[in-house]
C-alpha cells in the first residue's frame, strides 16, 4: 500500500503541477491552490475524484482520478460462463442495465455464431431504446439540478419511474434487469407490458415538454451553460468521444445507423446533431434523442412480429422450460450448458452498440472454453471522461459541476 502511494500520488501531482507552476506559500492571495474535488462530492455523479489547480476561481489544470468503483468486472468475466456474466453487466452502467444486457449478448452471439429470432431482436431494440430514454432523463434532470434547477430533476425521474414500472412487468426487476439471454430474451414480452410501453410513449411527449419548459427559456439556466465546456469536432474525435457528446459537437455518427445491428436498418429515424459542442448543445441533444427514441419505440411496437423469442440451437442456447421438464435430450443440454458453458469456437471479436452514453463495446477472446479467455469492455463513460481536463481548463470552478453533468459519466461503467 505504501509503495502504491509513493508511486501513484506523485505522478498525479506531477501532472497537475507542471513546470509552469508558481507554488509558494507566502501570500495566500498571490499563489495558486490545489483543490481536491470528490470522490464523495455530491455533484460528481458517483465517485469521481478531480484534482484541480486553481488560480482564484479559474481552473489552471485538472487531473481526474478514476477507479474508486473498480470491481474488476473484466477479470471476473474470465472466471464464469458467458451466461453467468449477464447479471454482472447490469452493474456496469447502472442507469441503463438493459442496454448493457443487449450489448453483452450481441457480442457473445457474434462470437458463438448464434442468431436470435426476429421477435427477440425487436424486443431487444425496444428495451435498448427505452433504456436510452430512461438514461437521458436522468442525465437531463441531474444536469439541470447541478446548475440549480431542482424541479426538473424530480419530474424527469417521475418519467423514468414509468419506464422502471415497465421493466417490472416485462422482466420482474426494476433495476437489475438481466433480461436478455444468449440467443434471445428471458421471456416473451407479455401483452400487458407492450400495452404499457404504448401508453408510455403516447403520454411521453407532453410530459417531456413540460419538463423542458421549465428551463428552456430561462435566462439564468441558459447563460449559465451557454458556451461552457465547448469542444471542437476534431478534438472530440481524437479524444474518442462517442454517443450524444460526440453528436453535440457536430459529428453525425451513430452506430445504429453507421453500423446497424439488430434490426435498426428496418427502422426509420433521424440522428439529431448540434454543432456547438458545449453544455447547452449536449443538453438539447439529449432532449432530441429522447423524442427520437420514443418514435423508434412506436415503430417497433407496430412492426414487432410474433413468434419465438429464443433461438433453437440446443447446444448453445438454454431450452424452453417445459421441454426441460419432459424431454431427456433437453434436460441433458440444460445440464451441459449450465455446467460447462456454450464453448464458442476459438477466435476474437469486437461488437459495439450505440449504448446510452456512447459506443458500448465488448471485446471477447475465446479459446474454445465455456468462459471467455479475455473480456475487454469499451465503456463510453471512461472514454468520455478523458476529455474533462481539456474542457474545464480556463473555466470557473462552478462550471466544473455543469460540465461533468453534461458529459453524463456513470462511474460504475467508467471504473468497471
Amino acid at each position: 500500500m505504501d509503495q502504491l502511494e509513493k508511486e501513484v500520488q506523485p505522478k498525479i501531482l506531477e501532472a497537475l503541477l507542471n513546470a509552469k507552476t508558481d507554488y509558494t506559500f507566502d501570500d495566500a492571495l498571490e499563489n495558486e491552490m490545489v483543490l481536491n474535488m470528490g470522490p464523495q462530492h455530491p455533484a460528481t455523479h458517483g465517485v469521481l475524484r478531480l484534482l484541480l489547480r486553481l488560480d482564484g476561481e479559474r481552473i489552471v489544470a485538472c487531473v481526474p482520478d478514476l477507479g474508486y468503483l473498480h470491481r474488476g468486472y473484466e477479470k471476473m468475466a474470465e472466471n464464469m460462463t458467458y451466461y453467468e456474466y449477464i447479471p454482472h453487466t447490469d452493474r456496469l452502467d447502472y442507469i441503463s442495465p438493459m442496454a448493457n444486457n443487449v450489448a453483452w449478448v450481441l457480442a457473445v452471439e457474434k462470437l458463438a455464431g448464434i442468431e436470435a429470432p426476429k421477435r427477440a431482436q425487436y424486443i431487444r431494440m425496444m428495451i435498448a431504446e427505452l433504456a436510452r430514454i430512461a438514461s437521458h432523463l436522468v442525465a437531463i434532470g441531474s444536469f439541470a439540478m447541478d446548475v440549480g434547477a431542482l424541479t426538473i430533476f424530480l419530474w424527469t425521474l417521475r418519467e423514468r419511474e414509468k419506464i422502471l414500472d415497465i421493466w417490472d412487468i416485462l422482466c420482474g426487476a426494476r433495476f437489475t434487469n438481466s433480461y436478455t439471454r444468449i440467443g434471445g430474451v428471458a421471456n416473451d414480452a407479455q401483452p400487458e407490458a407492450l400495452e404499457k410501453v404504448k401508453w408510455f410513449v403516447d403520454q411521453f411527449e407532453p410530459n417531456l415538454e413540460e419538463c423542458e419548459k421549465l428551463v428552456n427559456k430561462n435566462r439564468i439556466f441558459i447563460e449559465r451553460v451557454d458556451g461552457v465546456g465547448a469542444i471542437s469536432k476534431e478534438d472530440a474525435i481524437s479524444f474518442g468521444f462517442s454517443g450524444p457528446n460526440l453528436r453535440a459537437c457536430g459529428v453525425n455518427f451513430d452506430l445504429r445507423r453507421n453500423a446497424p445491428y439488430l434490426c435498426y436498418d428496418e427502422i426509420d429515424f433521424e440522428v439529431p446533431t448540434y454543432s456547438e459542442g458545449d453544455c447547452l448543445a449536449r443538453y438539447f441533444l439529449r432532449l432530441d434523442e429522447c423524442r427520437e427514441s420514443a418514435k423508434i419505440v412506436l415503430q417497433i411496437l407496430n412492426k414487432m412480429p410474433q413468434g419465438e423469442v429464443i433461438a433453437n440451437q440446443p447446444k448453445k442456447v438454454l431450452p424452453h422450460k417445459d421441454e426441460v421438464y419432459t424431454k431427456m435430450e433437453e434436460l441433458i443440454h440444460d445440464f451441459m450448458i449450465v455446467n460447462f458453458g456454450i464453448n464458442p469456437p476459438e477466435g476474437e471479436i469486437y461488437h459495439a452498440i450505440e449504448g446510452t452514453k456512447g459506443e458500448l463495446g465488448f471485446y471477447l477472446v475465446s479459446k474454445g472454453e465455456g468462459r471467455p479467455w479475455k473480456c475487454k469492455i469499451r465503456s463510453p463513460s471512461f472514454n468520455n471522461l478523458q476529455v474533462l481536463p481539456k474542457l474545464v481548463v480556463g473555466q470557473m470552478i462552478s462550471d466544473v459541476v455543469a460540465i461533468i453533468g453534461s458529459i453524463d459519466p456513470i462511474m460504475g461503467e467508467a471504473d468497471k
Binding site: 453467468e84 416485462l170 416473451d188 428552456n216 435566462r219 451557454d226 453525425n252
Partner: protein, 170 residues
C-alpha cells in the same frame, strides 16, 4: 458525415427576446407550471401503508416449491447452486425412499448474497425453485439472512401465479 446546423427552435443567450431577458415573466411561468402540478394525482406510493402488489413476473426472494404431501420437489441436482452468479446457494444431497430418490438434506440460500437474478429458477429441471413475490427482506444480523429449508419451503398453491407465468412465457 454531413454538417448539420443547429435547429433554430433551441434558444441560446443571443436568441432570447427582451421579454425573456427580463426573466421575471419566465419565473412566474415556471412557478405557475410547478403549482399546477399540485393538483395532479399523486405519483408516489405511500409505501409502508400502501403495499406494492407485484405482477406475476416479479422476481422476489427465491423459494422452494413444496408439494401437497409436504415434500419439496427438489432432487438436489445442484444445478441452481452451480449457476448462481452470486454463489448464494448451498445444497447437500441425500438419498430417500421416495420415487425421486434424492432430496436436499440441506438447502440454504444466503439472502445477503442473492441478487434476485432468477437464474436458479431458470435452470432448475424440476420446477423446484421459483421466485416468489416476497420483497421485504431485512435482517438484524447476518445469521438471520441464511434461509434454510424451514424458511424456503412454500406450498405450491401459493406460487400458482409464478408457475403459470413460467409455463406460459419462459
Amino acid at each position: 458525415m454531413e454538417e448539420v446546423e443547429s435547429k433554430p427552435v433551441k434558444r441560446r443567450t443571443k436568441d432570447l427576446n427582451l421579454w425573456e431577458k427580463i426573466y421575471i415573466p419566465e419565473i412566474i411561468k415556471g412557478l405557475a407550471l410547478t403549482f399546477r402540478n399540485i393538483f395532479r394525482p399523486k405519483f408516489t406510493m405511500e409505501y409502508p401503508e400502501v403495499k406494492f402488489e407485484p405482477p406475476a413476473s416479479y422476481r422476489g426472494r427465491p423459494v422452494l416449491v413444496q408439494e401437497e404431501s409436504g415434500v419439496e420437489r427438489c432432487v438436489a441436482c445442484g444445478l441452481c447452486s452451480r449457476v448462481c452468479p452470486a454463489l448464494a446457494i448451498e445444497v447437500q444431497a441425500a438419498e430417500t425412499e421416495l420415487e425421486k430418490e434424492r432430496f436436499p438434506e440441506k438447502f440454504e440460500i444466503n439472502m445477503i448474497r442473492c441478487i434476485f437474478c432468477g437464474f436458479c429458477e431458470e435452470v432448475c429441471p424440476e420446477e423446484a425453485i421459483v421466485m416468489s413475490k416476497d420483497y421485504e427482506l431485512a435482517f438484524f444480523n447476518r445469521e438471520d439472512a441464511l434461509y434454510g429449508k424451514d424458511k424456503l419451503l412454500v406450498p405450491a398453491s401459493e406460487l400458482e401465479d409464478r408457475i403459470k407465468f413460467l409455463r406460459q412465457y419462459k
